[in-house]
Assembly symmetry: D3
């Protein structure tokens, strides 16, 4: 029933963090772009026609982290003090399996709310950039397992995922 | 005389707030989109072809508040800690009168300058979004009475308008 | 009932304009910032401490028109070919009445959808900028009567409002 | 050896599409946010404290599609003519398994290059928004299987994935 | 006299290009960052602590070209079809002289107005990025000779500078 | 060798400033747009067809400073507390020489990292805007000598250039 939208019930809100103290916050997120082994080989050899894939994906991830609050509607703006994005090649574990590039992003700030979304956004946009740079040779790539692996700071303190 | 632009007289400035202390700031703005009674009925019934008008207008208002300093040239960037946008239907007071949706936005931050512009921008963009979502059925809608109704914090302290 | 959100009913959509032909589109919107007579006098005399109010509001309106599709969620991106923003002072009609600055924005493009939202956004952001530049001297200003006054082009052709 | 960066080899490029004809382009991407069954139940019941999760995720996905060329460095700007984002709940297939929300985004434009990245970006940002809205109750959610499922238009014509 | 701002005289305008035909446009701009010979050596050796200077500057230049109309108030939005940014090291011509990195950006589009500003913006932002990456080791760097060197397309046709 | 991109060596980083204390930071940058003497005369007379050149360049410079971290990949977001952009005409020193407009930008903030890039960005974008506004009459203009002239605050303290 649409009338429910007219009162306040169910309306999204940007949570009030004004009473929370500034603390050191950190979050690490991870994900991977799964691809043909030949595609990984091409990335590693610098042979992708569009250019140096990981150098571009790296810059894209860092810049996206800074724009997280423009993309995710209920995210607070934050003064990020550190962003780090790294890539690791994952050759296929066995013949016939797929390869991957593993992406890890760590973000830190001193603020009133966590930086999980910033780390996740950096991973997702770095991954999409890898897709964009390589799509002419491998349209079937997938972005998989984008997840938080660690956070610290704030009332909920340390959290570690897989 | 254009030479006046070459010296400093009359040039706009982004006021220096570096010496002001960080205080808790809040501002509430209000405005309304005036429309045909049938348009309001359609919004309330969820019958607007473009979709759930107020859900979209709500997100638009929250996101616009975060971008105020990109839109209003002399506005300072601020770390907003809370944004709340709410809508109230205003059926026509009497036969032959117009209906309206009243929009109220409250913004808070801890900073050196007030958040009036953020609250006003949230109201204006939420209102324009209502226009956009309904314009196929009611091109004569108007955004009226966008105004500050309350602010607190900072040297000038509490201010209450109508 | 929230389940309605899970199917497609009621979900907002960015209307498909892919089949529409490119035509010359134009739209004019208007609105006004209502203020104390002294505030208008100060604007006209160039005495507002923050600087040349209308020069800044003008640039803000033009730049905001170009960002309309970033602000209004279901708006299409468009290649605007022309943006014009103009201001007219409205001294009080009689003693004891308020003054105003009338804002008129005209936008044109060649495209598949109209530019009403771009013209309305230019008016609203120019008006908010006037508020920002003058708020230290007149916190009670209001943005009133933001409306479409004329559009042309597209299937619906010419439309003229008040 | 860093000197390779100083000549042109290996430098990324935004491919020249100036000679390609304008054709109707479409792309559909898909992905899913994997979550605890209770989290899905909460989303469906409208009980997530931050608000109506899918309404917000929907708007976020649409708006992100329009900003793809700002996020993905070598993407061309495009005049999108249609964006559609839809969600389907996936209750756990068996006891002890996880639930998911499946996200599908379709984007169309008339242009010189495809809209795969726009569809993928809409899915990723809608998925991250679901994470953000629900992270207080389920920090272990994952964004999985973000992939292109169909594209049409352009020289390479129709492509269908899984 | 400020009254001149209230009428139309002197107000900036975004020129109406609606009547111009779409033609192939290209522009090349150039500039250089002048620096200590040791700074250039460090860039070439990949020894700058902040990372691979030219890879980052390259991406920054490409991305900035796409945002030119957001930065330069009276610039029209354009659908760029190609952006290319290249760097050339300029070792000192003689002992005691400064070194430089020469930046060249070429931009193309099919549109109603030229792409000079996009090429110039790419050069300027790439140059500022070089400054940012190296400023910890050489704060005295300068961005010099940012200029248009060639344009083609449009009514004014080919133009070649130095 | 491209493998170097897969490990961490050479990857750009956004330096971690989380341990640095908040201090008052200021930076002043300067640059000039070199032009035909007739072009300067036209700017000063308000005779440039596109409008009041310096009023528009001024707003562009202020707004660009606020977006520096979106343009320069490894720049931290900062809460600028003050931005000032000023212009001085430089008539030709002798017959046959060129004229210029000198641009000076000062930026302040309280934060953990300096505001050099914000001041330099304001100068560059103000200069590019002058080019844009006047390019119809003088395509050979150049942006020259964009440089830091003074900074204060932070561990490195006061720095004064030429």
């Amino acid at each position: 029933m649409k009338m429910s939208h007219v009162d306040d019930a169910g309306r999204a809100r940007m949570v009030d963090v004004g009473e929370k103290p500034d603390t050191q916050r950190a979050a690490t997120a991870r994900g991977r772009v799964v691809m043909q082994p030949d595609t990984l080989a091409l990335i590693q050899a610098g042979g992708v026609p569009k250019g140096d894939v990981l150098a571009v994906a790296h810059v894209a991830g860092v810049m996206a982290a800074k724009r997280t609050h423009e993309l995710i509607p209920m995210c607070h703006p934050l003064l990020l003090t550190h962003i780090h994005v790294a890539f690791e090649p994952r050759p296929p574990a066995a013949e016939g399996e797929l390869a991957a590039v593993e992406i890890t992003a760590t973000v830190r700030c001193s603020g009133r709310t966590g930086v999980e979304m910033e780390a996740l956004t950096a991973v997702a946009v770095a991954g999409l950039t890898i897709y964009d740079m390589c799509k002419a040779v491998d349209r079937g790539m997938r972005l998989e397992a984008v997840r938080l692996v660690r956070k610290s700071g704030g009332k909920s303190g340390e959290w570690v995922g897989e």
